[in-house]
Symmetry: C2
Subunit: 362 residues, 2 copies
Amino acid sequence: MIYSRSDVHVIQGIFVVPYKSPDAPLPTLADVAEQAGVSTATVSRCLNSPDKVGKSTRDKVMSAVHELGYSPNFGARALAAKRTNTIGAVIPTMDNAIFARGLQAFEEALNENGLTLLVASSNYEPDREERQIRTLIARGADALLLIGYDRDPGIYEFLSRQGIPTVVSWAHDPTQPQASVGFDNRAASRDLAAHVISLGHRNIGYITANTASNDRARDRVRGARDAMEQAGLDPNGLYLAQTRYSIMNGAEACGALLTKHPDITAIMCGNDVLAVGALRQAQKLGLTVPDDISITGFDDIEISLITEPALTTVHVPHRKMGHAAARYLIDTILSDTPPAPVAPLTTDLCLRGTLAAPKSQI
Amino acid sequence: MIYSRSDVHVIQGIFVVPYKSPDAPLPTLADVAEQAGVSTATVSRCLNSPDKVGKSTRDKVMSAVHELGYSPNFGARALAAKRTNTIGAVIPTMDNAIFARGLQAFEEALNENGLTLLVASSNYEPDREERQIRTLIARGADALLLIGYDRDPGIYEFLSRQGIPTVVSWAHDPTQPQASVGFDNRAASRDLAAHVISLGHRNIGYITANTASNDRARDRVRGARDAMEQAGLDPNGLYLAQTRYSIMNGAEACGALLTKHPDITAIMCGNDVLAVGALRQAQKLGLTVPDDISITGFDDIEISLITEPALTTVHVPHRKMGHAAARYLIDTILSDTPPAPVAPLTTDLCLRGTLAAPKSQI
DNA sequence: TAAATAAATGAAAGCGCTTACATTCAACCC
DNA sequence: GGGTTGAATGTAAGCGCTTTCATTTATTTA
């Protein structure tokens, strides 16, 4: 992949936001200290490591805190402690059950550990992703969750120079240097494709997202090709259609594929959303699924269960992955030594109603 | 400046970026100032209001910035400027297309204005929500997005004392003092129910989320009762089933409702997720929808289009709402005077395949 | 009981930035 | 030409917290 860009490290606040101060100035640590009759150091300790303070002092301080309605100033805290207890995540979009579910689990795990989630979305655009990464760092994120490996190496360098622990998720590739918590898209796709082929399908279509800067999508296509090769078929015989993730796009791509290659007996899809679209389109064209044509998805999100027939797909443990990614980042932040690499998560074939042997074989 | 690969090792075409701990301290404003031969004030101005600085000076400063790879320290900035350019949102869960989609739009709008989104989830638990609100404030959120009105008045008081602009969304009630960007759940539900009743349905079930601390759910039920009353029916004749949002729970509630009240001819649901579950359950019980029983949803999320038949529901403009909520908050922060109240967003009835006149009427 | 040790607390030095105010200097006016 | 003005820049005072180090007080030990 080719990147060209200028290496700009400053995130400017483009908008100057006039600050409206609260009518009454908020109480500070010093106010609490005075009210409790102790030093600011003691108040700070009460709040951050209560066990280092005597019980009676602690009580005095805490009641002063409540009386004044004190809440520590974030900026000051971040500045002095050099930590924000905030973790950033840059995802393509929340508007997709895949990421939403994993992100929700990620947030929950962070929250249990006293950390807060900063979110930004890239809309699958590399430039925008880079900007978002820099923005989150500029917003003080202590660590970062990124989706997939594909990005300018300069970004990884920047992150490392800033000392920001980063984890790549939704993918796992042991040959890559970045820490990851994810699964092997290629192998999972290969397994599913192998099964499709074993049922007798020879003319297979594949509807994928743009593979240019999306290693997950690319690996899923590669996995399907791997399976063809292993079965002695020409991997270039895979009929490809490329589009953006959406039900409608899946439907369109399905129509196009079937028009151009009427001999297709199975259409594999890069994710469930595309598959649902393809399924509907096939049915709209008067085809019976899976008798006339088989369709498979990827991800196993909720909709794969409500189609008729239910969608054959690959189950990805999104919640588990979100949790594990959070766990990894937390461990990284807490200990100075980087934690042991996380083994790839396993995926499972979900054989449901949209896949069967091709008619000619029956 | 082009990305420098000087300290990146290439192994088999893979960039291995050494994980440099931030031992080398990051450059500060003062470093940039020294390198550029100006004062820190000038550097700061270059970054925050470039037009206040002479062109030649600005160029000097910016090249120093690039040379050093400078990126401003967030904590220091927040402390000095009393602003984080960060907006918080506390939502029940991202794991639901309703909130995910609205939140995505919210994030996009914030981002276009140089603001970043902090997210926390409450899982529909009031205590947890309160904790999350306090957490986001402690994390320096400049403003807050909250879902619905229902919460301890003390929270609103706290927010106002902290001077945190807040907007309530996913609901709109002009009788409430809080600013809101949302729609009238009660009226929307009433309209749908009125239509259901006008078709001849008299024995109606309603599957709702827990209404105890969820004004949206409560208002939707109330709207249905309003419609019954207006039609001269006993509003207490509405058969209620209460459960958590999920397809499976919707199915279960549907089964329970039909067992207990076999005379039901229409089941309205508090949202589309419940409705999809109810639809499947009805079909599993051998009923034909809408001939034997009608089913309606609420929200108009993507799945309402892929069921068979497609779901009759209420369209809620989630993306529009997310955008408008962001806009409102941005305006509030920008100007000292609170912006004009936002008119409630309109919802639309989506009459699709799951609603028809009851059989006895035909 | 005195000395040694541990626990609790305080004093104060920053953390890196923004910004009010002071200063400089060139351009402009009558 | 002296005075005025305004733009450009510098000086330095915080912002509110954490944390090191010194000090005081309580506890233990020989």
